[in-house]
């Protein structure tokens, strides 16, 4: 996983301090794979990566792996594969070429140097990107955009059959279920809760406990429960309409509401 985290602007990224090789061992986990180690080692040579001594680099890397072993650090497989490959490259570079199959040691060394150059280029590019102009950080967009107001004309689909069927079914259902009689005086209706929430919402800009929106003069427990239920329903309705946001930290925890900034409604 990625251990070396950037600061937000990514400045940290480039400060690849040319560490003496023993220091590398302290934090093997901080490296992004064997190429990363090679790149850091290569920068020690302080020349253009294309002119680097790959032989020297290979020796440094092998020493690095050896030391890791000596310190009984766990070395991931890909680091070892790289060590094996570099050992092979080293032998190809040192021994006279006897056969002509495959690329020569020099060719392989050039390719490795090029690969390092590529990685370095990408690393620098990443840094330049983060240090460049970032919209939202260095150049800002309009803070209060005026959204295009969409007037929706809803066209409702409904056939006469739908209408009549609904009526008939409703009548039938009602025949079974006793009409619900609401105790009008004590019930705090959803409409009333909606009105109240809408009026009060603008005055409380931050997250506020939903229960703060209940009417104050509720004496009996029934009215209070009715008001709680209606206010919750009203808040759900308004959240659905995008007028407010709801949150609840934990099960049975307090429900909080906040007016929604419908700034960039599209």
């Amino acid at each position: 996983m990625d251990k070396g985290s950037f600061d937000d602007a990514g400045q940290k990224n480039t400060e690849v301090i040319p560490l003496p090789s023993h220091a590398l061992l302290v934090d093997l986990d901080g490296y992004e794979g064997p190429l990363d180690v090679l790149l850091v080692l290569a920068r020690d040579q302080k020349v253009d990566l294309l002119k680097i001594s790959i032989l020297q680099l290979a020796e440094q890397y092998l020493a690095f792996i050896e030391q890791a072993h000596a310190l009984r650090l766990e070395v991931a497989a890909d680091y070892l594969v790289m060590a094996a490959w570099l050992a092979y490259l080293k032998s190809r570079l040192l021994l006279p070429v006897e056969d002509d199959d495959g690329p020569s040691g020099e060719e392989l060394a050039d390719r490795l140097a090029f690969l390092l150059k590529k990685l370095e280029a990408m690393r620098e590019a990443a840094e330049k990107l983060m240090n460049g102009t970032v919209v939202g950080r260095d150049r800002l967009q309009r803070g209060r955009p005026e959204a295009i107001r969409i007037t929706r004309h809803s066209k409702y689909e409904c056939s006469l059959r739908d209408l009549l069927q609904a009526y008939a079914e409703q009548k039938e259902r009602k025949g079974i279920i006793n009409p619900l009689r609401l105790m009008r005086d004590t019930v705090f209706t959803v409409e009333a809760a909606l009105d109240r929430l809408e009026k009060m919402l603008g005055t409380l800009p931050e997250w506020t406990d939903l229960m703060a929106y209940l009417p104050e003069n509720l004496s009996d427990p029934f009215s209070r429960r009715s008001a709680q239920a209606s206010t919750l329903l009203a808040s759900l309705q308004m959240a659905k309409e995008g007028q407010l946001e709801l949150r609840q930290g934990a099960t049975f925890g307090p429900i909080q509401v906040k007016k929604r900034n419908n700034g960039n409604e599209s």
Binding site: R144, I148, I150, C158, L163, E191, L194
Partner: protein, 202 residues
């Protein structure tokens, strides 16, 4: 005193990027010391006066807003096709068959309270309208259907709404008769003379 054009630029950027309108104190705090805020604002205000956006003062704070004569540019009309909810459908049917009918009567018939959205949807669709007030205590508003309703459902007159037997004969309904439609048809005929004597216009 001459204005530093850099101050004007800064104020412009701040007013543009700020999420809220800014008052003079907020600007003064962000601009270099000694910046003549009122003069800066006056300059910007004048500069943008004839542009597509204007610097506008709202509740003592300043913000850029689209020029009022161009606000139509930011309006878009869209048509969406929607289905009516079951509650809306039932409510519409009740209004059609029982009109003029009050909200309380609709609730009574349906046996549940009417949520505000239900009536809104029907108004939005252009299918119902307030018709007058019932001459009873509280003088509640009565509702009826509109001409658009008749047009949409292909009816010449509200009396053309089919009764139960006709619907059943036409295979429109598979519910068993409960008698209500017969009563209803009769009730409609008796009460629903178009200009209801009980009504007064809104």
């Amino acid at each position: 005193m001459s204005l530093d054009p850099e101050h004007v630029r800064m104020a412009e950027a701040l007013l543009f990027a700020s999420k809220e309108p800014l008052d003079e104190a907020a600007l003064a705090e962000r601009l270099p010391e000694g910046a003549d805020i009122p003069a800066i604002l006056a300059t910007i205000e004048e500069h943008y006066r004839h542009k597509g956006v204007n610097l506008t003062r709202l509740a003592g704070k300043w913000t850029f807003l689209t020029a009022p004569d161009l606000s139509w540019l930011l309006e878009e009309e869209r048509e969406t096709t929607r289905r009516l909810s079951r509650a809306a459908l039932e409510t519409l049917a009740i209004i059609a068959y029982h009109q003029p009918v009050t909200r309380a009567e609709i609730e009574e018939i349906r046996g549940v309270g009417l949520s505000r959205g239900t009536m809104d949807v029907l108004f939005d669709a252009g299918w119902i309208r307030p018709r007058g007030r019932r001459r009873t205590p509280g003088r509640p508003v009565t509702y009826g259907v509109t001409e658009d309703f008749l047009i949409h459902f292909g009816l010449d007159d509200i009396k053309d709404l089919p009764g139960f037997d006709e619907m059943k004969a036409a295979g429109l309904l598979n519910t068993e008769p409960t008698g209500i439609f017969r009563d209803l048809a009769r009730a409609n005929e008796e009460e629903d003379s178009l200009e209801d004597p009980e009504e007064e216009e809104l």
